[in-house]
Symmetry: C2
Subunit: 433 residues, 2 copies
């Protein structure tokens, strides 16, 4: 991307989808990006502001004049506008809010009054609601009336009572295929999915996935209809929460991604590495207890990392399955005992086979039947505790309302390290000398 021909670039940007422009901004180096923002921010599709992420987002919001941001926010759907406003710096946010028309400002401020990561932040306020006594014909005429509150894209029509409480929903396709004279009430689903504005976004995503929803009504604490959440926003939530779990399991802080700034990356990983240093030292202390034993037989030092590593891997496997099963609500109190039994049996079976194999290797390598047997026994013990802790730790953390994806790894690997070294060196101290 050269920046010689300004008009050519501007033309190109206009033809591209907002998501593609955002991708370009994210791929550029920060110098090139600033040039493009100076050059092109007037011509940007407003949706570029809600599509762009990470460092590119910071740069765009910082270097784009606030009045242009305000113009763009006015064009956006409430949910996207709220997202942009959330991400602005404090000063910019106030300036942009002041520059908005009062009805837009009130709508955004109302959404912002709901907690972060709640349904209220995700919802779009423009929606189509009709009274119960209307017919299909009246509904179609209303939709053709060019009322400015009618959103461009919508998938369900909400049927409300005089108190603006949702009594049913009608998918658009059903309105379309019904005769004009039919009443709305006769074709509506009278048991609609409704989400509370204060509900957590992950709970909303779970409902959408489970019941294959396309859109759902959002109601306030008095059960009045205040907005609608559509599936395209939920797709982002699903991706982000799976992403957060993956990164958290690897000890990378949630916000980190490729577009994060350097300092954020270093900080986001340091915490985990620092905690891991502590647990690694703990494991070393256990080894230190057996210094005299190792001095008598250095082969122990050669083999001991295998016991710890195998336990760590087995524990991580069980833990990962458990963390995901908790996240998708597959694992709960009613099947926990059954699953625990199964995990422990699997750990013992795999542990048994691998202990046999590696015990043989140790026996041949160090020409000692006794060393091989102690090694195999320690491996089985550690893999059993790996299975046990891999399942019980995420479940316990979940009960204590701590995100199992973030905290489980530390505990599981500490336990498998400590038990691994302790079992192997302890058994060696008892049986080998």
């Amino acid at each position: 991307l050269k920046d010689e021909d300004e008009t050519l670039i501007l033309e190109m940007l206009e033809e591209l989808h907002a998501a593609d422009v955002a991708d370009i901004l994210e791929t550029l180096s920060s110098q090139q990006r600033r040039k493009l923002i100076e050059l092109g921010s007037k011509g940007f599709d407003p949706e570029v502001l809600s599509e762009v992420e990470g460092e590119a987002q910071d740069d765009l919001y910082e270097h784009m004049p606030n009045d242009l941001i305000a113009d763009a926010v006015t064009e956006l759907d409430t949910d996207d506008a709220v997202y942009v406003i959330e991400e602005l710096g404090d000063e910019d946010r106030e300036e942009v809010l002041r520059a908005l028309a009062s009805d837009d400002r009130v709508a955004i401020e109302e959404s912002l009054s709901y907690p972060e990561d709640s349904a209220g932040r995700l919802m779009q306020r423009d929606l189509v609601s009709v009274p119960e006594f209307w017919t299909v014909g009246q509904t179609i005429d209303y939709l053709r009336s060019e009322n400015s509150n009618i959103p461009e894209d919508f998938y369900d029509i909400f049927v409300v009572d005089p108190g603006h409480r949702v009594v049913g929903t009608v998918p658009l396709s059903r309105v379309m295929s019904s005769k004009r004279a039919q009443t709305i009430i006769s074709i509506m689903n009278d048991d609609p999915h409704i989400v509370d504005a204060s509900a957590e976004q992950e709970e909303v995503a779970y409902q959408f996935t489970k019941y294959h929803l396309i859109s759902t009504a959002v109601v306030d604490s008095a059960k009045r209809l205040v907005g609608v959440i559509t599936v395209d926003d939920v797709v982002d939530v699903i991706e982000e929460s799976a992403e957060a779990d993956i990164l958290a399991l690897a000890g990378v802080r949630e916000e980190s991604g490729l577009n994060e700034s350097f300092i954020e990356i270093v900080k986001g990983r340091f915490t985990w590495l620092f905690i891991n240093l502590g647990t690694a030292i703990l494991a070393s202390v256990v080894i230190g207890l057996f210094e005299a034993t190792i001095e008598q037989m250095v082969a122990l030092a050669v083999l001991m990392p295998i016991v710890a590593s195998m336990g760590g891997n087995a524990g991580t496997q069980t833990m990962t399955v458990a963390v995901r099963a908790i996240a998708t609500k597959e694992l709960n109190a009613s099947n926990a005992v059954r699953i625990l039994n199964r995990e422990l049996m699997a750990a013992l079976l795999n542990g048994g086979i691998l202990a046999l194999l590696s015990g043989l290797v140790a026996m041949i390598w160090f020409k000692s039947v006794l060393l091989g047997s102690v090694f195999a026994a320690a491996l089985i013990v550690n893999m059993f505790f790996a299975g046990l802790s891999g399942l019980l730790i995420p479940m316990t953390l979940h009960k204590l309302d701590i995100d199992p994806a973030i905290a489980s790894s530390v505990f599981v690997t500490t336990i498998t390290d400590v038990i691994g070294f302790f079992a192997f060196l302890g058994l060696a101290a008892i049986f080998l000398f």
Copy 2:
């Protein structure tokens, strides 16, 4: 759940959403489950068959009579029907296919002719397509005509030329808000998103996420419209592929979940543990090279797991970020060098701070400045290679068309173990004696 009152249970099942019935089947023990299937399979909503997963799915398909399965398949949308047929055993599949009406059978067999995990398997064949020259009024009349090819739920209308090639799409909401006399061609998007039936499902999911699609046309190799994919099916693909990445990174084979059978679980984890045993032995061989050095100073055996473990963690962090960035197409050749520089700087900075800290601990613990320095130096070296391999290994595997989520961990942890032990014990051998 007691099974005393049969009719009560049947009534309850009828009122529940198919997804909830599937959840109940999955939570029951296999004995209770079979009883419920015997009792209730006549009353099941056909969608229960496409919602249920894992062991419960196997049980349901096995114990439900094939003629009832065929009845259910007839009721399902093509995509769900194809999913059920795919999962049946070979014999049952043929029997069910034979029991279907010929048009249903042909539709399902055509979908099955596309490769597994392709768009063709995911698509629904019932859709609404109209010729270019129709008006909004003609379209609405057609939708009211109770034609059996019109699906119950649809979100976009596809505009086709006489060769049945897609020339545009119109969202339903736009049809609804347009006057009867307007031509369809005047309100359509003339640059619609189209997906090839042979495209991979993950690519389809990427398009849906990026462009916030609700439905997209699927075309065959001659560009003729053959089906439609809706976002609710894509949500499943997104969840499954994030899930597969999480599990693969932890060394659990893709198919495994809580509802997998015992033998599947043991097998799905054994491979990884077996490979890990090999790499752990490799690391032990490295330690074995320095047996004489360790004999001179057992403190080395106490400290060496810390070096390996810190490198492993740092490598896993970088690797996980890289694997996800490759999956979401954020990391590519154009920004690889920039990202590599950043990762290495982060590794050196975090490595430097942690080496200082842990070097001090080692110094005080073992009262040796030299040992502390060697330990710190080895830690920095290992964390540098952790950052390097954490990024380069997933990228190389991706270039070689190997799924980085499955294979990266083995290489990264092997490298950090081997380099960790080698650097620490090697430096110790040189400088301490």
